[in-house]
């Protein structure tokens, strides 16, 4: 069995696979270090601070120094920890995220594999890391970690749904290049390259504003980012499942977190902002040269990442019950409605502007629902009226 890589024909599939894995891991590690530096600098600017300045020019080598420090640190395991669970957990968080990179389209034809069911593969694979979180929470023999792990599980599973539904909503209406044999226009694809190519002129952002917002929110939750950083909430559960980890294992969690951020941003760029295709398709039929595509994708992904950082600097954390209500009572019904409307548009061949209009209405409903939820909060659990025993101690 042989395949082709970088124009070399007849390469053994195993060698091919290894090269691709190494490339991805190496590339990712470097990019994640850049991301961490970027986050620290950007957050610092939001807070009128300087951020890292010491290592290297304007602190550029800070992440390298951190990585070296983490690798050099002792890998501690609490005595009562469940050894296997504790030690394996980081891999179960780390590996799925990197598996997700298989389908990420960086630029045209530059990706590990083009999968026909790319999006399905993506949501299937990245969903696994919840197991790793629970294992970390359980295995640490720490109550903060356990609470954090449980929160992570609840949150991860709940927000998986709006995330999948939002991707589904987009995938079902995507226009696939017409089959040359029949000349019929086809709808619906899970292949990311096709989804991107279909947005050459108008990105999905225009047709699916609600889906975009829901995807952004759900992605924040999936990434455990503020305001959904409940599992790791520093001021409550002091790091949650990570609280007992140190050294290399901790850095694996960290790496996975930022790698996931990068994947999400690339998927976001691909699914909603037209990846490498838009706005190039507006001016010419051929795609732009690869470097321009790369810049384009970087810019779009960077926008998403900047938004994530910006939100992190500005918003408080939700509480666990609010988080759950928000997804099950607001996001999920909205997404079901959107999927339904997309289906109606497909079946009855309504003009696409219907999508935009309903999407905007959906955004309005979302805003109003949030406002209403804030104005009329759920009644609190009945306060303990009787404090007997050590009264008020």
């Amino acid at each position: 069995m042989s395949t082709e890589i970088f124009g070399f024909d007849g390469v053994n599939v195993w060698v091919d696979g290894l090269v691709r894995v190494l490339l991805i891991v190496g590339f990712m590690t470097v990019v994640v270090m850049g991301l961490i530096y970027g986050e620290r600098k950007i957050l610092a600017r939001f807070q009128q601070r300087l951020g890292p300045t010491r290592t290297g020019p304007v602190g550029l080598l800070q992440s390298v120094a951190d990585a070296l420090k983490l690798v050099g640190k002792e890998d501690l395991r609490p005595r009562n920890a469940d050894a296997w669970t504790f030690e394996l957990a980081p891999y179960l968080v780390f590996v799925p995220v990197f598996l997700g990179f298989v389908i990420v389209p960086f630029v045209l034809d530059w990706q590990v594999r083009i999968l026909e069911l790319g999006l399905l593969y993506f949501v299937a694979v990245t969903g696994i890391n919840i197991v790793g979180w629970i294992m970390a929470g359980w295995g640490s023999d720490n109550r903060y970690a356990m609470i954090g792990g449980m929160r992570a599980a609840a949150q991860g599973i709940s927000y998986e749904l709006p995330l999948v539904l939002s991707l589904l909503a987009v995938a079902m209406v995507v226009e696939v290049p017409s089959d040359s044999a029949t000349g019929e226009s086809l709808r619906g694809s899970l292949n990311l390259n096709e989804i991107i190519a279909a947005q050459a002129e108008i990105p999905n952002l225009v047709w699916q504003p609600l889906v975009l917002i829901v995807f952004f929110i759900a992605a924040l939750a999936e990434l455990n980012r503020t305001p959904f950083d409940i599992p790791v909430g520093e001021s409550e559960v002091v790091g949650g499942p990570f609280v007992e980890y140190s050294g290399i294992r901790w850095s694996m969690f960290f790496l996975a977190e930022y790698a996931a951020l990068l994947i999400m941003s690339l998927i976001f760029a691909a699914v909603f902002l037209g990846g490498w295709a838009w706005p190039a398709g507006l001016f010419q039929d051929d795609p732009w040269p690869r470097w321009a595509q790369a810049l384009l994708v970087t810019g779009k992904a960077g926008l998403f990442i900047f938004m994530v950082f910006w939100v992190r600097a500005s918003v408080p954390r939700l509480r666990i019950d609010q988080l759950m209500s928000f997804t099950w009572k607001i996001l999920l019904p909205l997404m079901f409605a959107q999927v339904l409307i997309n289906g109606l548009v497909l079946v009855y061949d309504w003009p696409e502007i219907v999508l935009t209009v309903t999407g905007l209405v959906g955004v309005l409903v979302l805003v109003m629902a949030v406002d209403r939820a804030v104005r009329h909060p759920r009644p609190r659990p009945a306060p303990a009226t009787q404090l007997e025993g050590e009264a008020a101690s």
Partner: protein, 156 residues
């Protein structure tokens, strides 16, 4: 949602402002003249001896008892063919910076304006590895004033 957008706008407005932090060990802030670090003794440059006569006033007034003073006859006194008017002079002076609470009382009770609070960065950056190294003896207490690195501020 409006409130969240307002929050985002607020952080964006601070994004555009100048940072308020500074690179600390390189960029020292100017200290006001009244700044109080730890007490140091002052050097009488005219006569080339400390102002302190070892009178124990500060030692007695110190709330945390961080000072130890001993007094001796001044070898430089006029009776000994010296040029000093001080009959007695400080012999040993110890201040335990680890215990000092920087309350300025020693400066207030001093009758000879011989002690002042250090108002330079040198007085603030006194990290050591051993607490015993924070017990300052007479030469250490006088070194800054002797080298004229100090413009002391003493309340009237």
């Amino acid at each position: 949602m409006r409130g969240i957008l307002k929050s985002l706008a607020t952080t964006l407005s601070t994004f555009s402002r100048r940072p308020v932090t500074r690179l600390y060990p390189e960029g020292h802030r100017d200290l006001p003249e009244r700044d109080r670090a730890f007490p140091v003794l002052l050097w009488d440059k005219d006569i080339d001896e400390p102002f302190c006569t070892g009178c124990h006033a500060c030692e007695r007034a110190c709330p945390v008892e961080c000072m130890t003073v001993t007094m001796t006859d001044n070898p430089n006194h006029t009776t000994n063919d010296g040029n000093s008017k001080r009959r007695k002079i400080v012999d040993k002076f110890y201040i335990d910076y680890a215990r000092c609470m920087r309350c300025n009382i020693c400066v207030e009770v001093c009758n000879f304006e011989a002690i002042a609070m250090n108002n330079t960065w040198q007085g603030h950056e006194t990290s050591v590895y051993d607490r015993a190294d924070l017990v300052m003896d007479l030469p250490q207490l006088l070194v800054q004033s002797k080298a004229k690195q100090l413009e002391e501020w003493v309340p009237e």
